[in-house]
Symmetry: C2
Subunit: 163 residues, 2 copies
């Protein structure tokens, strides 16, 4: 696949991130692709579900596994807008995902390059090919906008409380 | 808590592992305890659910979060029969679990000491206290017995095929 084709799938992941933002969740989205078809989608919904494991990648892996009727996602690529955390990087390895493309790096939680390098660890029984920085600017902008709006809303609430 | 009290909860985790074995799943079990009460339980069921993320710890975290109505498992301890993998160690950090007690170390997948040291990583925003080796022999024995039985069954099947 060329850059344009990869971008097409990352745009699908960014649409998932928008769904999260509309629900007031930190905007992170993911899709899983096999043979050119999206077979799994997910977005972060940890607040809505009251569950710390409801990350976009975990949701997308669940949907893809259900679609295939198999926990082994051989030949599948995951596109996720933000560098997966340790949990999600571990889930990608366990699921035998072949390729992982992500947008922005995550210096605070990143499990693929920033803090840990889980998908490429030689001692594990499966390794995932990792490409970071795909449409990173679009992904970062969504996160920045989300947190700016959150701060603004908090400031307005504080002003209301003072009046 | 003293050793006896910790062992009491690890025995509950071992009971969960037995449930997995009875379903033909690799026997790993976990419980989550708050204020001396078990509020979450789980056992490995990746084959049954066709989902690589159906590890004991993830199931136990889901149940505990549902019980508390909160993804933040403050003041909770997790007891798991085998050293958590990267995914589960990451989930423990994300869920703000306070203490993690595990049985046998897992040199192939372990995310707490064997391959990664995720729960105690200083750069993450939460750290989990980790104690490994609690009733490790009981946990290892269950795994050894399971894989021995699996091999025996395969050998019997092969003999049947030859006759």
């Amino acid at each position: 696949m060329n850059y344009e084709e990869h971008s097409k799938f990352m745009k699908e992941a960014l649409k998932e991130a928008d769904k999260a933002a509309r629900m007031g969740e930190v905007p992170v989205g993911a899709v899983i692709v096999k043979d050119g078809t999206v077979i799994g989608r997910g977005f972060n919904k940890t607040e809505t579900t009251s569950l710390a494991t409801s990350h976009a990648e975990i949701e997308a892996i669940s949907m893809a596994s259900e679609h295939l009727g198999n926990w082994r996602l051989y030949g599948c690529s995951m596109y996720v807008t933000l560098e997966p955390c340790a949990m999600c990087a571990g889930a990608a390895v366990l699921s035998r995902i072949e390729n992982l493309f992500y947008g922005a790096a995550d210096p605070k939680f990143g499990g693929c390059e920033s803090i840990f390098e889980i998908p490429t660890e030689a001692r594990l029984n499966h390794r995932v090919n990792v490409v970071g920085g795909l449409m990173a600017e679009e992904s970062s902008r969504k996160l920045r906008d989300f947190f700016r709006d959150l701060r603004n809303r908090k400031n307005i609430d504080n002003l209301k409380d003072e009046n």
